[in-house]
Symmetry: C2
Subunit: 354 residues, 2 copies
């Protein structure tokens, strides 16, 4: 009985090379533990989360989290099922329970009780929601938009990476909370249609259209009060040039820059002075004390159909994860990108249909 | 009886050309008004303020203030003396009184009562203080540092353009208010010595030294909690790379970028996310309601010798103003740069010795 894991093999230079074993990651096979320690759970990973921040975890720079060490299992969150419970944890956990775990990229993992979070879902919820709209992704959108961006009634909100996991939720939250106008920036005509027709954005702009800057100007006749940025680079720059007086620029991510050898900074920086812009970076972890209330609100919006989730699930098992990560940076996904390590149909017990 | 004025002649491309008449500005001579209108004052300009923001006033872009129109008298603040009072203002003003006026670059100007501010000075004050440490310059440093930067005891504060008018006051205010460590960035060895020996900065770095980035790192062992930026560009970038967790980056000016054809943005932008940096632009006008209390505090520090002022006065009359402005961008000055349009010795009345 063995299982597969994916290890961090060598530093990207600067782009991630998805070729297994010779590239950024390598495949490893290890035996499944026969004796689960008393204070551990053995979990089986079903869905791995892919997140833009992962590229940063591979860089040995001062950051909000230590980099992944070479040779270690690649860091990542997953939806997993408890398959064996250590003897001291039997009163807390049962075989068959679903958890969110920082398991890393592997098919099985031994986790401490505090390293997992039991999945609890509202009506209409799916297990994968717990690492998407009702997990770190949803919380990132929630706190970034509401605590940092603070859109007010009558204001114009622009979201970049708007068809991505976080952006799609952030834009919807702005709309739910009464923003006058929510505009999304995304990388294809299809994504733009999705934003307007399915998620209710007021407008969406394909930044690959040669006329996108003109369209951005037309779509923001009263300038931009809140910009929720997932991309950085040229898009941040163009939006800064459209910043309204006293606007808030929420820096959530900079996916366009993560793989760049020479990052590109915003040159419209003078607007920061003339329009008194606040540009603020944030990390969702800082709001941990407020997760509970936020998740309750997100769950109620989801149940009521006010908030729509979108998943992009890559089938085919754990070997496809490096390629899926590269695809994430290329913008292949609409909505939350994840890898199906093991389908729900293979899950144990009565909750298999969740 | 005529007087000289300097008009905005043609747009910089992109640097200011100081050559009078063929360059950015031209000289004009107009007759002195023989009849002062009832609701006006005739003032004689003695000292013109030179400010980095002036370059921005020559650019027809969305900004915090309308651009100067071609052919108009160049905008600027001055220390002037009332030489004639219109008949309806005689109860409010007297010949010989000193005022701060947005007179523009001219030797005489007709001003409305609300377009001037009477100069009131504390013990040891000079008329020129009213447009420097006790005027817009001091207020800019005060509100930028205390309202936007908010340094706390134990924190490290870095100021760029630290030997300039605003920077030199901003750094001193941080020190007065209990910052643990105040570091200045300036453009010469002499300026650095001035900061440390005369103003009490804890360290100063000459950004023209090839080793300046290394020196910046050494001078900020606990990173940077507050950065008060007057320069932008490469210096802002290097300081962002040294940003401490939850730091505040006060964007007051960007003198290195004002004359650039292609502005340079900060590329260390990822730190904004990982360290949760707040980057905030501001304009002193937004704090107008608090000017009174701020000026009182600044005046008391000046009188007590806690706050030191430094002036760089360019003699030779109004014709030298365009060249002095170019010198300001070249960093020729230490402290507040102004042009002596008419010496105090030529002033009227008993306050001539102020």
């Amino acid at each position: 009985m063995s299982y597969k894991q994916i290890l961090y093999n060598k530093a990207p230079e600067p782009a991630i090379d998805p070729t297994l074993n010779s590239g950024t990651f390598r495949l490893n096979t290890v035996p499944r533990p026969t004796d689960v320690p008393a204070d551990k759970l053995l979990v089986r990973v079903h869905y791995l989360s892919l997140d833009p921040a992962m590229r940063q975890w591979l860089t040995a720079k001062r950051s909000y989290i230590a980099p992944v060490e070479l040779g270690a299992v690649m860091r990542g969150q997953s939806i997993a099922q408890v398959v064996e419970v250590g003897s001291s944890l039997t009163s807390q956990f049962k075989t068959g329970e679903w958890v969110v775990a920082y398991s890393g990229w592997q098919e099985y993992a031994l986790m401490g009780a505090k390293e997992v979070e039991k999945v609890t879902l509202p009506a209409g919820g799916r297990p994968t929601d717990a690492m998407s709209v009702l997990g770190m992704t949803g919380l990132t959108a929630y706190f970034g938009m509401l605590e940092v961006g603070q859109p007010k009634a009558g204001e114009t909100v622009v979201v970049s990476g708007a068809a991505g996991a976080t952006g799609s939720i952030a834009g919807q939250i702005a709309k739910i909370k009464g923003a006058k106008r929510v505009v999304g920036l995304a990388g294809s005509k299809e994504k733009c249609e999705f934003l307007v027709k399915e998620l209710g954005f007021d407008a969406a702009i394909n930044y690959k259209d040669p006329q996108w800057k003109k369209q951005l100007k037309e779509a923001t006749p009263e300038y931009i009060d809140v910009f929720f940025d997932n991309t950085g680079g040229e898009i941040l720059d163009a939006c800064l040039a459209r910043a309204a007086r006293d606007s808030r620029f929420v820096i959530c991510g900079a996916i366009s820059q993560y793989n760049a050898a020479k990052p590109q900074g915003p040159t419209s920086f003078m607007t920061v002075i003339s329009q008194r812009v606040t540009v603020k970076g944030f990390i969702v972890f800082d709001y941990a004390k407020k997760y509970g209330a936020a998740l309750q609100e997100l769950a109620s919006w989801l149940s009521q159909g006010k908030l729509k989730r979108k998943e992009h699930i890559v089938p085919g098992g754990i070997e496809g994860t490096p390629k899926a990560l590269v695809d994430l940076y290329a913008g292949v996904n609409t909505g939350k990108m994840m890898v199906e390590v093991a389908p729900i149909s293979e899950a144990l017990g009565p909750k298999a249909k969740l």
